[in-house]
Amino acid sequence: MGAFQSVHQEDNYEDLATRTGFSPEQIRNLHRRFKHLTKNGDKLRRDHFRVISDLELNPIQSQIIEAFFDKRNFQGNGRGTVSEIGFEEFLIVMSYFLPTDPNLTAEERESFRQRKLHFLFNMYDTDDDGKITVQEYRHVVQVLISQSDNLDQEEAKEIADAAMLEVASLAVVHMAPDEFYEGITFEHFVKIWKGIEIEMKMHVRFSHLETTSICK
């Protein structure tokens, strides 16, 4: 990287910093990590994630990887998925995991919270129809249980159904018996999380990133 490139990059960092909320230092670290994952390429593809061995052990690995390639998370209005992303999209997805800045106003905090919840919602709602149906929920529960050896499908279904019922009772308190609950919409989803402070839970520390030692 020549001097010219690094100057160009610095400006870029500043620009990205203002847009995503990272500090330039963090962006530099993340860029290094990005380069490491893509083996100095420019675009990140799904198979690049395979090098992270710890990720293989994660039960929701595929959902996480998909989240990176989901256009809905790029803060535009896109739908659908892409097959490769650049550093900017990588950064945008990562920015969902920033801790809430205490200096923000109440509205900014609220919008940040909404964005985080929307990110989570998108991870559940895989077919992108705006609601989490029973099948999608069942799939999530199955995946969570699948970590153990015995895959009990009935159990998973039962748990998912019970959970769904609970959400429905919370969200749409009264339903006539012949109505059908389509699925958890985003508003209902937010209602579940009402008591839990997602800002306090959904964050990752970005300050100390080790870029070199991970590749096992």
Binding site: S148, L170, D178, R205
Partner: protein
């Protein structure tokens, strides 16, 4: 105050007084008789003089009249006194809660100290010597139950997330407090005119270290009543537990060298090493015993009755073992309880679990009460040496040191924390630093010869304790309300929360892995995986070792629902927490229209079927009602796991049979008018084994898992699952294929309906209840 409570109050007070007076009198009498007769044989005092006293030659003893009634108090004296004290403590606790407004203004600890003062005063009046709080009684018998209770039910998640902060407060904070108070006190002592010159520097530091430790008993007693948010609670409470190691080391260090008057750098260095040994050693000892307990509980399936005993004895042994080596017994207990809990709970039966929980709560409650009463009594009993300067300076310094320490430390800590501590939080942490009986007992341990100012120290300690407990304890509740500090969220642990929390955990771990950041989640995940792979296999019996956490949680909730259903027996109406008419069929995926066009069956046939089903319904409902709390013997099975699986199998077989049977029965939606009907229609039963959605129009039979009978017992309590068939219905009783619980015998039937409905409501509600996974919430003290 209603008539009832007034009566109850009078009764309790009368009992209390009735106990106090004879106790005082008997102790006084025992003292007097002992003094007058002399100790001698230890055979006690008989009402008749003993003629053969002193006759040692075996000469014919003169025949005594056979003593019909003797008074022999001495040989039951100790257990008797202990029992009286415990009884007094319990009655006081009872009495306080009968006075409604008092317990909301004054924290219980204050009231108990006042009672102690009264009892002490009473005893002094009568002439008996009121007992002082002996240090070994305190440390060996009174303190462990409280700490074990705290450790066993320690909320691990918030504790581990805030561990860094807690350690900073505990270690650095206590060190700062000790040296600040000790140093400044020494400076004050050197001032002319206070006649405190004789107190050297090291005794001052010793005093500082004793008085600066935040006391877990006092913190628990006060914070439990104010329901503050989880973060603050765990910060102050965690600090009070972990500062024990620091206190132990400082105390021993200064005590050893006070006589010699100086401490070298080597000693300080050794002190640091000692601190590490004390704390880590304590934790290791505790963990070792915890693992032993978990391992033992694995084999306890055939002797369920003594399962709780293992929990208690192993924990107590860990405490004692740690105390042998002067390691931190408190940390050992905490480690033991926290380590053994997940495994033991997976192994022991439900009854044992309840027993353990209630015994721990009971013991810790009684201990706490006794401690506070004894504090009051010791105040009256002890020899005091009051020194205005010393006492006032100490109190001021304690407050100042605490505030400065908390502010300084928070400034540093906030640089590393993601969720920063606000000023309000800081204030509560500083204000919640209460001192208690540990300080007093440590002071009591000082030798009077080496520390001639011991009495003054004790007086000061008691004053500080009183000040913190009374002033700070009483004012903290209005302050919390005034400052609008966040209170504890009464969130019920629901299955949704569990799912989402687990999902979020995995998500964050994944993101950390992608970032390459070995953070909190990464290591937690690694620990979990290690736990699952190796440790659980060793320590948990049978199938439970492979159970994923989500399923375990769900089963616990089901068990809990079943128990609640059994216990409430159908008599009391419980309001449902989430009044909702949403039921299972609202959730099921839509069927295609073609399935809905079902063949009509002839009316007579339908009547027949209806009659059969109705009679079954009646029978089972009657059977159900006859099982109330008093006749009920069956509990959800002890070895719940296997039986549960068996039951499921049977239920699924039954489902298949039923579906084969009545495939063509249509049951359209009954009109949703009357609340009775709609309530009874609450098929919102998550324990429903919903057969495959394609067979959506089969009658669903709910199996009452709580039923005491064999798994074959099936209660057709529920209505049949409905298909959303568009049907025009003018009125209810018209010819339509309406399947309602017949209104033929209105009163009886409605009653049954309501019972059935209520049960379902309850079940519905139970879903959002705190599952046993959220045991921290549901653990109210047994003796509140």
């Amino acid at each position: 105050m209603s008539c009832w409570t007034r009566r109850g109050l009078l009764l309790a007070l009368a009992l209390g007084l009735a106990l106090l007076v004879p106790m005082a009198l008997s102790l006084g009498a025992a003292e007097k008789t002992r003094r007058s007769v002399g100790n001698g044989h230890g055979t006690g005092v008989t009402l008749r003089p003993d003629d053969s006293h002193g006759d040692g030659h075996g000469v014919n003893k003169t025949k005594k009249i056979f003593p019909v009634l003797t008074f022999d108090f001495a040989h039951v004296k100790i257990p008797f006194e202990i029992s009286l004290w415990v009884l007094l403590a319990s009655l006081m606790k009872l009495g306080f809660h009968l006075i409604p407004r008092l317990s909301s203004i004054v924290p219980e600890s204050c009231l108990l100290i006042v009672v102690g003062l009264l009892v002490g005063g009473l005893m002094k009046l009568v002439g008996a010597a009121p007992p002082e709080l002996q240090s070994d009684v305190f440390f060996l018998y009174l303190l462990p139950p409280i700490i074990l209770d705290a450790g066993y039910f320690l909320p691990i998640r918030p504790f581990s997330e805030n561990l860094g902060t807690i350690l900073m407060f505990a270690v650095v904070g206590t060190l700062w407090n000790s040296f600040f108070i000790g140093g400044l006190l020494y400076a004050v002592c050197q001032i002319e005119g206070t006649d405190l010159k004789s107190i050297g520097l090291l005794p001052c530091f010793l005093f500082g270290s004793v008085i600066s430790a935040v006391d877990p008993v006092a913190v628990l007693a006060v914070f439990e009543e104010i329901h503050i948010n989880e973060l603050l609670h765990i910060l102050v409470f965690g600090e009070s537990l972990l500062n024990d190691a620091v206190t132990v080391v400082l105390y021993h260090l200064f005590e050893e060298y006070s006589g010699l008057g100086m401490v070298t750098f080597l000693d300080v260095f050794l002190g640091v090493i000692c601190f590490l040994v004390v704390s880590l050693g304590g934790v290791l000892v505790g963990a070792f015993y915890g693992l032993l307990a978990a391992f033992t509980s694995r084999f306890a399936s055939h002797t369920r009755v003594i399962e709780p005993l293992f929990v208690f004895v192993y924990s107590y042994m860990s405490y004692l073992s740690a105390e042998v080596f002067h390691l931190s017994g408190i940390m050992a207990l905490i480690a033991c309880g926290a380590v053994m809990r997940p495994y033991v709970e997976a192994n022991i039966s439900h009854k044992s679990h309840t027993t353990t929980k209630y015994f721990l709560k009971m013991w810790s409650s009684v201990s706490e009460t006794l401690i506070f009463i004894f504090l009051g009594v010791s105040t009256v009993a002890g020899l005091h040496s009051w020194n205005w300067t010393f006492v006032t300076v100490t109190i001021i310094l304690c407050l100042v040191a605490r505030v400065l320490g908390v502010m300084g430390l928070t400034f540093v800590i906030n640089k590393f924390r993601i969720v920063k501590l606000t000023n309000k939080d800081q204030f509560i942490i500083a204000y919640g630093g209460l001192r208690g009986a540990i300080a007093f007992s440590l002071g009591y341990l000082l030798h009077p010869e080496e520390f001639p100012m011991r009495n003054m120290f004790l007086t000061t300690i008691i004053t500080v304790v009183f000040f913190t407990v009374f002033v700070q304890g009483m004012t903290i509740r209005p302050l919390v309300d005034l400052l609008a500090v966040k209170k504890k969220q009464e969130t019920k642990r629901s299955i949704n929360e569990e799912i989402h929390t687990q999902f979020l955990d995995h998500l964050l771990t994944g993101i950390e892995d992608i970032c390459g950041h070995y953070g909190h989640h990464h290591w937690k995940d690694k620990l979990n995986r290690f736990n699952k792979k190796y440790v659980k296999k060793c320590l948990i019996a049978g199938e439970r070792s492979k159970e994923p956490q989500l399923i375990a949680f769900y089963h616990k909730m089901e068990m809990k629902q079943a128990i609640e259903l059994v216990e409430s027996g159908g008599g009391v109406k419980l309001p449902s927490a989430v009044p909702s008419t949403v039921s299972m069929q609202n959730i099921q995926p839509k069927k295609s229209n073609s399935e809905r066009a079902l063949p009509q069956i002839s009316k007579s046939r339908e009547e027949e079927i209806r009659k059969i089903l109705r009679s079954n319904l009646q029978k089972t409902r009657q059977r159900l009602r006859s099982y109330n709390r008093h006749t009920l013997v069956g509990e959800p099975d002890e070895d719940g796991w296997n039986d549960l699986l068996l039951k499921r199998q049977k239920i699924m077989d039954m489902d298949k049979q039923i579906s084969r049977m009545s495939n063509y029965l249509t049951v359209p939606a009954p009109p949703p008018e009357s609340p009775t009907l709609s309530r009874s229609r609450l098929a919102s039963d998550p324990q429903h084994y919903v057969p495959k959605p394609t067979l959506g129009n089969v009658p669903i039979i709910k199996v009452d898992l709580a039923s005491p009978q064999s798994p074959e017992y099936v209660s057709v309590v529920d209505e049949f699952q409905k298909e959303a068939v568009p049907l025009k219905e003018e009125d209810e009783d018209a010819g339509g294929l309406t399947m309602k619980v017949p209104l033929g015998d209105p009163k009886k039937e409605e009653q049954e309906q309501q019972d059935g409905g209520k049960e379902q409501q309850r079940l519905m509600r139970c879903l959002s209840d705190p599952g046993p996974g959220g045991a921290e919430e549901e653990d109210e003290p047994f003796l509140p």
